[in-house]
Symmetry: C2
């Protein structure tokens, strides 16, 4: 395949085929009116093509306001799923120009009262040009010493405000509790009250000491989000201190920054999606997670946040499940790389969601589950909280109900009683 | 001022004060339930504060779907303009962590059926830590030799598909036509059909030759959007070839990439906003241009696209005017830097919009006006098209009506007849 393909959900008061041609024109040759240079051969070589149009329902009000082209009362707004394609020749395997092409000016076209990028399929040239995940699922398991089942993790709280020493105290408790994974909050990067290098220096000796005792290095995702040179420097500091993961707020840093970091990086990149709601909460705007994650996997992240089932945010369980499955779906057909990454579940996670989360993962357990209250507020303490999550996911993997499994697993029983009324 | 402030437009079915406290909690200490570590003193030092709430209208349906918390029929959704503040101490003057804080997870909170970032005010520490524009308005005027009035420019069309030589032929015609500014399309970066360095090498000798004849170097914004090392290499190539501007698709590259480029860069950065519709088209989601441009000015762009009046897209004239004014509004109070940048008008621009555009700019003419058809489709040819725009903006600056000015300015008269029915 030498064409880039993308599907969109669109909504338009105009003739759908015509509106799609405007979209294809805007994102390739650039003018709907043909210029002299645009011979038939030129168009054949460079124009984007409308590959298919599947009409959906129509609605009586536009999903997005159309101030410059209000329609008469009674107008219907037709929705459709459309597939466009572009010649690779137009942009080459450039991730940022791919973004500007598939998710650029077209959102502003006045032909549309709704436009959302759904998914992206790419020629193999992108697999060759883009770094892709360096560690992925296998590398994360190897570095964390968790051979099977989810990595059970947590986020340091309060999110922001703890000094390096106070952070280290929290980490110490978590290590003692038998946790697999710890992460900084996305608000905690390199603020004056908790300078990055001091935080690493306070935490890593504890992690290494714990490794000496247990043989397992707990993975700590240090938030290196920042300027390019700062991210490289902080990555190097984590590496030198014996750490095994760095975290980046992807939307805040951007594609070029993450891809650059990946080429320099010797540790897994934990991809935080802060700001994702902006891209996704209006169903007729932005993009699906399936499209968004394609860019970041190509740029080289190893873990991707997908929210959690029964979360404290506004996202539905179906949406969370689709995001998790997207992370595990190969980006390229063999012999191209699959570039699968580990989905990270978070937000209100306790033992209660284990069965449904396992089902959402299609039975796979290649995930990181981060729980706050589900661990910290467990009546038996942190260690019991961690164990309750492991027991729950173990039951889920073996097809045993949580209630049955709780009969001879006390921490799970306590968790069910406390968290799953 | 040692706090970061931001205003939001929100919509919620809950008690507004309570919903805002959730928002402030999520984006600072991180938990609505107080943890043991969160003493009063800790909260005072690190919690985000709700500074003010201005109630607006209420509506009977949520602007954004709330799948996880549907409300009973009859629920009202209250809108409000709210102002939050954060201690600088939490994050330090970090642009990317600022983005993760002000425009992060809060968009997903299920308390809100609408949430939009409106504007941002920052402590002076950000002026010291972030590069800001290197050339801005004065530098752009100096390099382009346009002392007053708008820079009259165009975008090379077809957007994508021309070879380097074919692109150079278009540039030759534009130079002969007396244009001030030429730019690549955002779809044209470094594709196989038009490799970047070959394009620069085909174009720059013409620009330099034209400079020899006229004493003015026409500014060509070469689109260097790409990976970090590629952008640096391409910038260096433009610089070595005698060029005077580089262009970046900001949303596609990201904050860290642009800020890094700026620190390396010796040329003005022309900031393209492709993808902006995603952030802005739903009025109760995303962010206003006033907020968005704050980040990019701090990162160091010199020009920012603002669309154009009577454009071919879906944006209203009021919104375009507000964006243009935002570019000219100082980012910091004196003695801090103003960091003003040149707004770039585009999309369906002809002589017709001159009076209204001047008014939108508050009478200032520090702008780039790019026109396609308004130049190319002028009945007198390219040179006449360029002159018609200059005449129109000259009339606007002098408070003369276009019709009056057209009496003794033939190219303007032709433009009015052709483009402004």
């Amino acid at each position: 395949m030498n064409r880039i393909e993308a599907s969109y959900l669109i909504e338009t008061p105009f003739e759908v085929e015509q509106a799609c041609q405007v979209m294809a024109g805007e994102q390739s040759c650039g003018t709907f009116t043909r210029l002299a240079a645009e011979t038939d051969d030129f168009r054949k070589r460079h124009a984007a093509r409308v590959e298919s149009i599947e009409l959906l329902d129509s609605v009586d009000a536009p999903s997005l306001p159309m101030p410059t082209r209000p329609q008469p009362p009674g107008t219907r707004y037709q929705r459709a799923r459309v597939r466009l394609s572009w010649p690779l020749e137009n942009l080459g395997p450039s991730l940022s120009t791919l973004m500007a092409t598939l998710a650029g000016n077209l959102y502003e076209l006045k032909e549309f009262s709704g436009l959302r990028l759904l998914d992206v399929s790419l020629p193999h040239a992108f697999a060759e040009a883009c770094p892709g995940p360096q560690f992925g699922i296998d590398g994360t398991r190897r570095l964390s010493g968790v051979d099977q089942g989810p990595l059970i993790g947590t986020i340091i709280k309060p999110s922001v405000g703890l000094s390096p020493d106070a952070t280290a105290e929290v980490v110490k408790e978590l290590l003692d509790g038998g946790i697999d994974f710890i992460k900084d909050d996305e608000l905690q990067a390199n603020g004056p009250h908790c300078p990055f290098t001091e935080r690493v220096d306070a935490i890593m000796p504890l992690v290494l000491e714990h490794e000496q005792l247990t043989g397992r290095k707990v993975m700590v995702a240090f938030n290196i989000t920042g300027e390019i040179d700062e991210m490289r420097r902080h990555h190097d500091h984590v590496l030198a201190a014996g750490g095994s993961c760095v975290m980046v707020a992807l939307n805040a840093v951007g594609l070029a920054g993450v891809s650059h970091l990946r080429r320099h990086c010797e540790l897994p990149i934990h991809g935080h999606r802060a700001g994702w709601g902006m891209f996704s909460r209006e169903p007729l705007l932005g993009m699906d997670f399936a499209a968004w994650q394609t860019f970041w996997r190509l740029a080289g992240v190893d873990h991707l946040h997908v929210n959690g089932l029964a979360n404290k945010f506004s996202e539905s369980d179906d949406s969370v499940a689709a995001s998790a499955r997207a992370c595990l779906t190969p980006l390229f057909e063999p012999p191209g790389p699959a570039h699968t990454v580990m989905p990270v579940f978070s937000s209100n996670q306790t033992a209660c969601q284990a069965i449904d989360t396992c089902r959402a993962m299609g039975g796979r357990s290649d995930m990181i589950v981060t729980a706050g209250g589900g661990i910290m507020a467990h009546p038996g303490g942190i260690a019991a909280g961690v164990r309750s999550l492991r027991q729950a996911y173990d039951a889920a993997a073996r097809g045993i109900s949580l209630a049955d499994h709780a009969r001879d697993h006390g921490e799970l029983a306590q968790a069910l009683e406390t968290f799953c009324p």
